[in-house]
Amino acid sequence: MKMPPALPRLIALLILVAVPLVEHNAYWLHVFSLALIAAILALGMQLLLGMAGLLSLGQGAFYGIGAYVAGALAANYGVPFLLTLLAGGLAAAAASLLLVPIVRLKGTSLAVATLGFSIIVHLVILNEEWLTGGSLGLMDIPKPTLFGVSVADDDVFYWVCLVILVLVFVAMDRISKSRFGRALSAICQDEEAARASGIRLAWSKSKCFLVAAFTAGVAGGLFAYHSRYLSPSDFTFNESIEIMIMAVIGGLGSLSGAVVGAFVVVLMPEVLRSSGELRMILFGLAVILLMAAGNLGIVGLASLAAAKLFGLFSSARAWVSKPREAN
Amino acid sequence: MLRINNLSVSYGPVAALRGIDLTVEAGETVALVGSNGAGKSTTLKAISGLVPPSGGTIEFLGETLNGLKPEAIVERGIVHVPEGRRIFPRLSVEQNLEVGAYSARAAMRRRRIREEVYALFPRLRERRQQMGGSLSGGEQQMLAFGRAMMAQPTLLLLDEPSLGLAPIIVEEVIRAIAHFRAEGVTILLVEQNAELALTLSARGYVLETGQVVLTDESQTLITHPKVWASYLGEKELEDT
């Protein structure tokens, strides 16, 4: 008697697909594309934090690595669009191997060690001019083309981002329902019991970092084409913190939550622009208030509200106790 | 003095106490015995306010304690020495004792009582600058008692004071309990070591899976087969 969990997702997808048909404003399309890219980032973070419980503040670094690798390949060697995205993802994944020694750290120690990684990567981007253009940034990233057709128009690029987001979403969904995803959840909920079931912690965690880094790298590649100019100041550790907020705000552990969280974190400051001086204050207050939603997140609250609103059968109770259902 | 009526406590889905009745009169020492998980510690925690009752009432000197915070209950003279001693490992012995006399009713006379503690446990005086965590198990138990003395209880709740201690230390425990009794302190004692508990007490309650199954004079209980059964299995007893 429950609403099929796929239905809200399907509706959301249709709306996302329709956005450029309804909204032609370049600014909004630009910001929505940015939100889609952020959603990819947040999905990677959800794998780390929501599924495996690994509080990593290194995602911003992988995002930067992906962006610079994709951007540099496109700008300097004319590598085609999709290949540069793949290269960005792979480079980030390769860089994640550097984190293997620290995956055994927990909680705060892991967070701060990965924060340190973010800072180091930022400094490399800033200081290695020969590689990244240094503080003056990486310019002249060409417009993206797909099989010889330009996909640089705001609406087309938006759809490209959306397709990649959907692919990543489906991938994460499949992972979460696989042996690997179960192992990560098990690690998250009880490491000792996971070991007692034969799960190798360091191995699984390293793989988790690798997949999340790849995702962030692809998002970085998209960002390179979205902005077409990369500057070190877009890849500070603040980025990592923002990604963490995205994953939590929508609903920890929920894939839809990650997407919604990314939209909130990207769109809210833009919507709040009209409030002028108070903009960031309101944003900060909103973040604090949303945290009161607990682990339900926005998606959990929304489905709760929906369930209440429509008096949907008897499912309300199940929605509360199982926010995961709602994603 | 203490009157417990139909007290129930649940931890999530698990019912730890299923409606127990219990009374302790002023100056008495009463033992609560029973095997692991019978609900002994939970009873003490409910009295001292650490866990909220899901039903029933706890009355102390005519006042209902339900809903009071632990720190308010301490102010009424109920002092709970928890299982596992729970001394503060990164405070010195002297600081631990100081914390014992934190409540307003105990703070006034803390210097004098501290001397009494040191007189009773000279080892503590020797080690008064050491961190609590660096003491041996026996010394920690002494410190826990000293801390309770500092609190100057009218009703003392003791949870497994002999647990994990060598027999020679158990004698120290007995000495400390005797001290409290001589001071006229009422004691509710939880012990797995039933013989010890019943030797020290006048009356006892036997708990099993959250219910009082038996209550009587300690002298009677000490030979009662049901007590034995609650430890080593009832069914087996029948065919012995």
């Binding site: 509080l55 020694p101 620290i102 750290l105 927990k106 909680g107 705060t108 120690s109 967070a111 701060v112 060690a113 924060l115 340190g116 990684f117 800072i119 400094l123 800033l126 200081n127 913190i241 907020i245 939590v248 705000i249 920890l252 001086e277 960031m280 204050i281 900060g284 207050l285 909103a286 973040v287 604090i288 945290m291 009161a292 939603a293 607990g294 682990n295 | 001292s48 306010g49 915070k69 632990p70 720190e71 301490v74 102010e75 002092v79 020495v81 928890p82 729970r86 001394i87 503060f88 490992p89 990164r90 405070l91 600081q95 914390v99 014992g100 934190y102 409540s103 703070a107 801390r147 609190a151």
Partner: protein, 294 residues
Amino acid sequence: MIYDQFLQTLLGGLAIGCIYSLIALGISMIVRATDILHFAQGEVMMVGAMTGFSSGVWAGNAPLLALIGGTFGGGLMAVAVELGVYRPLRARRVPLINVVIATIGVSIVLQNVARLVWGSEPLAYPALFETRGLVISGFTVSPQLATIVVLSVLIMAALAVFFRYSRAGIAMQAAAQDPDAARLMGISVERATVNTFAVSGMMAGAAGVLLGSLFFASFNMGFITGIKAFVAAVLGGLGSVPGAMVGGLLFGVIETFSAMFISTSYKDAVGMVVLILILLVAPMGLFGRAGRQV
């Protein structure tokens, strides 16, 4: 000449390190008492610097009043966020990560409110100390840095005395080490937590005044400094008071010496590499203990 440089670098590192220590102490105390990673501690420091500035200026450039004003400003701000934000969140039993993110929200709000209240321009503190270098038996010593080290040491000593002898200080430690046992001793854990925030805010506020007098006060001075202090606290062992002191000093000295001898471009990276190496050997930091952790 080279000794002179070495000593100057060391003194500079120690002075910065002292300021990190003061902030890190607060971060550590808060973690110990509540498990919260307080990302807004740097902003509390900033508020201290600002209120210190305002009270100092109001009182006609009085350094002592600036210090007092900053200390209390920081303390009050920390108590305000505890009572206004963290306690209500804890009461709702939200997961710890939510509270941690709320601290980031607090940091954003404080920074931007301070920008509106005190403006976006940096504020120059009145010269609290002599700024010219003093040459003592061939060594150039900055009285300003020396004063900061001395003041910080005094503040930390006062904190040690407070924790060691005062009933409130002992109660705060007891509540942090074993909240249930502390309750059984009649300690209100809620009040002890507020006290913890107050003391940690006061330390941060004092650090803000010292930092402000050494450099200047501005609405954005807290974030980076706060993050560095955070790293220092983890380096020393989150939750350990001596760890926070040593971690802060160590981090400050590493920072200045790596700028001196390794690379100014990568000086922050050196600190991070040291941090990661230390965590690999001692996952809980130098003075860390297993135990209450996130």
